[in-house]
């Protein structure tokens, strides 16, 4: 078994297979803590976690907040809309100020790809990437992979279809890195305009714009949230068209494997990328993902805190 030595979690691209497995193994134990009567352990007592969010997010922010609190850390939430960022303070300066406030870990959500990596080079405290632009959302992919491992007992050899706006999705990118490192077969499915050019080089096995091909032999589907431009006049027909061509419905699932598992990072758009019947159905693990998200983030916060200690 390898030892965790990283002070930051910035992407899954930079992790080895062994490091990803180490996080997943720890996650199982942290999940047990959530089943206790006293759902709190003193592991990060005296540490301060700052959630620094430059983009609106409820579930990721709340999940990190609960995770940190379950580990007895103190948690401060900073939403950029109400912070000095509005007065023009740069990310760099904000980060240095948080460090001067003697925080130990910054959890950063930012609209610029590479923001977390940049911040990690300029502060001496730990940085955890909670989503940077279109680049990566490592803890989301880790919780998706953990959920799959819980359902199937393994990742190697599983066939996982990622469906939706691949080009603009950090969730897709992190999942592709993580799943391919763990030797799953990854299929991406989207309208051609939403598939990025370099995709095969990331370890994707199949690229298709036909949803029925994508899910024909899949063990799991990860349905991405579709974000249509809100000001377009023809938004509604476009959404209907997407649902018709790519929406995950019970009829489509009839043709797939019986034990297929349906995931979604949330928040779901009912009737756009997924039907209500599927979202609420027996194959959906969407709410398991939410619970597992806390356990994964507990494991990540715990590990980077340990990593920071070793690097001192």
């Amino acid at each position: 078994m390898i030892e965790w030595t990283r002070k930051h979690l910035l992407s899954l691209e930079e992790l080895t297979r062994e490091e990803i497995e180490l996080i997943l193994d720890n996650t199982a134990s942290f999940k047990e803590v959530l089943t206790r009567e006293v759902k709190k352990v003193p592991a990060l007592r005296g540490k301060t976690v700052v959630n620094l969010f430059y983009e609106p997010s409820t579930r990721t922010r709340v999940s990190f907040e609960i995770a940190a609190k379950r580990l007895s850390a103190d948690v401060i939430n900073i939403a950029a809309e109400t912070s000095s960022a509005r007065k023009g303070e740069t990310l760099f300066d904000t980060g240095r100020n948080i460090e001067a406030l003697k925080a130990d870990i910054i959890v950063l959500r930012h609209s610029a790809s590479g923001a977390a990596a940049m911040l990690s080079r300029h502060v001496n405290i730990s940085v955890v990437n909670a989503g940077d632009g279109w680049h990566e959302h490592p803890t989301q992919a880790l919780l998706d992979i953990f959920t799959l491992k819980e359902k199937f007992g393994r990742i190697e050899g599983l066939e996982v279809a990622i469906v939706g706006d691949i080009a603009h999705s950090r969730v897709a990118r992190s999942n592709i890195w993580g799943l391919s490192k763990l030797k799953a077969k990854v299929i991406v499915c989207a309208p051609k305009s939403l598939i990025p050019a370099e995709i095969e080089q990331m370890g994707v096995s199949v690229v298709t714009d036909d949803i029925d091909v994508a899910i024909a032999n899949a063990d799991a589907i990860n349905v991405l949230r579709m974000q249509f431009e809100r000001d377009e006049a023809d938004m509604f027909p476009e959404q209907l068209d997407y649902f018709k061509k790519y929406g995950i419905t019970q009829e489509r699932l009839e043709k797939a494997k019986k034990k297929i598992v349906v995931m979604h990072p949330g928040p779901i758009n009912r009737g756009i990328e997924i039907s209500s019947e599927v979202a609420d159905g027996s194959q959906s693990v969407i709410l398991d993902q939410v619970t597992n998200g806390i356990a994964v983030r507990m494991a990540v916060l715990f590990l980077v805190a340990q990593g920071a200690k070793k690097r001192r």
Binding site: L22, A28, S29, E32, V33, V41, Q306
Partner: protein, 181 residues
């Protein structure tokens, strides 16, 4: 580190556990309300063996749980030898029970301190008694064991290794000594 001496073999461990099982039953007037909780990882195996020994004597089954104290330690940096936090498995409500806490070696007492804090977060036992296979001294906290397999005077240069078939392939207790250089 090199092996200095072997202080217990398979038979020795076996006999010691049977003796402790009798002591536990005598002190607690039977097996009623007993829950045996082992500290990961060798304490957990010893707890299972102890429960089996009690069952052989009393013909009743005794619940067994395991405790991983990593998240309750007072020094995070000491965890490096153990990269994965193990699952704590306490399916029984320990409130009102007589908990026998089991570990392989009692040394500074810090592990036991962490285990006591964790146990109390799980419920309010009637009492907790501590059982260790080896007590090697050098306590840093006011903690003592109720049941001791063997007291072994050691020096700080030495360490005691309990090896069990379940994880080490062999049953023995040895004293290891640091090499002089």
């Amino acid at each position: 580190m090199h092996e200095k001496s072997k202080i217990m073999d398979k038979i020795g461990i076996q006999k010691t556990l049977i003796r402790i099982a009798h002591e536990i039953l005598e002190r607690n007037k039977g097996a009623k309300d007993l829950v045996i909780v082992g500290i990961m990882k060798r304490g957990a195996y010893l707890a299972k063996r102890l429960a089996k020994a009690i069952e052989d004597i009393e013909a009743v089954s005794v619940p067994v749980g395991t405790l991983d104290i990593t998240l309750y330690r007072d020094d995070l940096s000491l965890i490096s030898e153990k990269p994965v936090v193990q699952k704590t498995d306490l399916m029984y409500d320990i409130t009102g029970k007589k908990v026998i806490l089991v570990d392989d070696v009692l040394y500074t007492g810090r592990t036991v301190r962490a285990a006591l804090t964790e146990l109390i977060d799980f419920g309010r036992p009637q009492f907790i008694q501590l059982c260790v296979l080896i007590d090697r001294g050098f306590r840093e906290l006011p903690i003592r064991a109720d049941f001791v397999g063997k007291n072994i005077p050691t020096s700080q240069k030495e360490s005691v290794e309990v090896r069990l078939e379940e994880c080490d392939g062999v049953d023995e207790v040895v004293i290891m000594e640091q090499d002089d250089d």
